[in-house]
Amino acid sequence: MPRIREEAVLPRRASYGWALILLAVAPLTAQIQNQPDDGQWPMAAKNYASTRYSTLGQVNRDNVTSLKLAWSFSTGTTHGNEAAPLVVSNTLYVVTPFPNDLYALDLTKPGAPMKWVYEPNPSPSSQGVACCDTVNRGAAYWNGKIIYNTLDVQTVAVDANTGKEVWRTKLGDINLGESITMAPLVAKGIVLVGNSGGEFGVRGWLCGLDAETGKIKWRAYGTGPDKDVLIGPNFKPFYAKDRGTDLGMKTWPGQAWKIGGATAWSWISYDQALDLFYYGTSNPGPWNPEQRPGDNKWGSSLFARRPETGEAIWAYQISPHDIHDYDAVNENILLDLAINGSQRKVLAHPDRDGYLYLMDRATGEVISAQTFGYVNTSEGVDLKSGLIKMNPTKQTGYNTVRDACPAPPGVKDWTPSAFSPKTGLIYIPHNNLCYESQAVQANYIAGTPFVGMNVRMYAGPGGNRGVFSAWDPVQAKTIWSINEAFPVWSGALATAGDVVFYGTMEGWFKAVDAQTGRPLWQFKTGSGIIGQPVAYKGPDGKEYIAILSGVGGWSGGVVSGGLNAVDGTGALGFLNAMSDLGKYTTKGGMLYVFSLP
């Protein structure tokens, strides 16, 4: 799951990660979260709460129609450009897909010339273990350093001014199928990095690194005994189903947990007040559920941990025995909302299984879980037990299962949502896909995929493959939605100007009214958009909107990887749904920056 999703999610997630990292960089972060926006974008998600909300209001619903291209920059790579650019101190940083070059662009000069470029030269072989395109979702700024991950399982810190490498740490082994595509987050001086490779039979982990030295302080595995998962005496899951000792081992047959996935390949949020960070783990491996009876903890689970020690405080397994590859890796937006009259610290998690989980982020209690798209693989979440009720007729296995919705990319994949405090709405870029599948025996060979599923995806009810919708977390219902032909695989951006930005895979960059969803403005970029839009205040005081264009990822592999749609089971079945993408867009890799004239 992690790998698959990664491709799709790259642009937005990257931004999110960057933002988080910046926030983590101590005093600055606190300010960003709690004080008026300084117009910077220090981590992929803009802030620790992952709201992707910019308080800049210069571009508003009235004048957005006159938004013009200010300048552009080619990333020189044509694989999925999923990253969010960072803007710190009048410099814009952008990470490319493999070979993961880092560009620093000087915003003070016209046309934003390049200040420096950093080339980490990751091992080319790592491309062979990137499940869903060789994407990277972005960097994080911390204390004068840009910190990000390379595909070949390394984390690097680069001096933000000079582009010199500060430290580099190797965290895993590509020969075991590991890779990293996520944007790191820096909290309390700890760089949080998780691996990818849930489709390669890796054992998932999340590492805490010292942001100054790059030393590994702790490593929390996604499977295995409690000491590996860093579950200790303070671990208090809300639901009985998640309590017990060594569940990460006892819910697996034999030694299967050692190759059981549960990676952390996507977003991390951090609550400074509670001193907890939140992330989700990927699917258990292999995808073929017949080979791993049991709940397969801690695959497809949400974790709350302490940054310094990595110690788990609570966990909630969203999809026990995840049969549909519904990782739980999607972003967790940290909000303070009035629910039933009382103010609560919540976490909004739009999951791939189609439910938007609103949880108490201190305890892990699910407050509400409602579907935000068409779902027939499950019939609801029991708030008492925290268990999801799966639809038995859609259980994948050796017999073909047809018409299961949502498809493995979920109602929503990694593509991060934005939250606007002005409207109180969450803006969700998501999919409308169903699939048919048949399990086949997955053979484990280290460093090669460990999946065991033949899949064909196709458009869900209505025929549109993508949706962009606004969700009211309090009422738990969709306020408005826009259908798109292709899955909406970009991140979302909400601004104080009551405008919401997102991109489509045909290459349109769109602005819509945050209240009503009315389309306001659109611009056709050179390639399909799967990146994460950001807003920043330039040295000239103007508000700029930036977006990476460059199709790819899991969904766009048909174009970026030159895949052959004759085989619909290609790209883990996504090819079947995307066979016509090549008629709409070609490869690309370009940063577009817009402003009012």
Binding site: N376, T393, V401, R402, C434, Y458
Partner: protein, 205 residues
């Protein structure tokens, strides 16, 4: 020696254009075989159908119903031509046979054209999935028989027109009519299966 008993049949007709002729029986047998095959195929279709949780299989369009339903009109009317020709054959009326066969062929050709147009609009083929396999089997087998009989009827018409039409050929016209009635009659259940089958048994969701 005593003579054995004698039955003189010299006065009997040398042929009989009716269901008493062995040729009629032979033709009936083949119709029967075809009918049995289509019956098993229809049974197999529903057996398969009931084993699937979703029908039609995802991705397959629901077949259009307008054109195939309209197709029934020329198809059923063509039987009138057949009937006319076969009655004329009994009465040895060349004009009647020619007229009947022409009408038959013309209407059948219209129906065939409509069928092929509709066939081309299907978004699945035999390799797509099980429904595709069955629909193409139905259409393929029936259309094959249909075209074959149409060709045979055309040859009969040609014989009638050029005057090489003895009792045997007239018997042929008569016998051909059962095949045609059969092809029309069997099309109706096939039509129901192909075009209404996807909605006859309720599928989940």
């Amino acid at each position: 020696m005593t003579d054995v008993q004698t039955i003189d049949v010299g006065h009997l007709k040398a042929y009989d254009i009716s269901n008493q002729d062995p040729l009629w029986w032979g033709q009936f047998m083949f119709v029967f075989i075809e009918g049995a095959m289509f019956a098993i195929l229809i049974a197999a279709y529903f057996y398969t159908r009931l084993r699937m949780d979703v029908w039609p299989p995802p991705g397959d369009q629901f077949p259009h119903k307008l054109l195939p339903t309209l197709e029934l009109i020329p198809l059923i009317l063509s039987c009138a031509g057949t009937y006319w020709a076969s009655e004329a054959a009994k009465k040895n009326s060349r004009g009647g046979m020619a007229g009947g066969l022409t009408l038959n062929i013309a209407l059948a050709a219209v129906a065939l054209w409509m069928r092929i147009v509709e066939w081309h609009s299907l978004n699945f083929n035999w390799m797509t999935d099980i429904q595709g396999s069955y629909v193409w089997a139905f259409l393929g087998l029936h259309t094959f028989d249909y075209i074959a009989d149409l060709a045979f009827t055309a040859v009969l018409l040609l014989l009638v027109l050029i005057g090489r039409c003895g009792p045997k050929q007239r018997l042929g016209v008569h016998v051909d009519s059962i095949v045609w009635y059969f092809l029309v009659a069997i099309w109706i259940p096939i039509y129901v299966v192909i075009y209404w089958g996807p909605i006859i048994v309720e599928t989940q969701q």
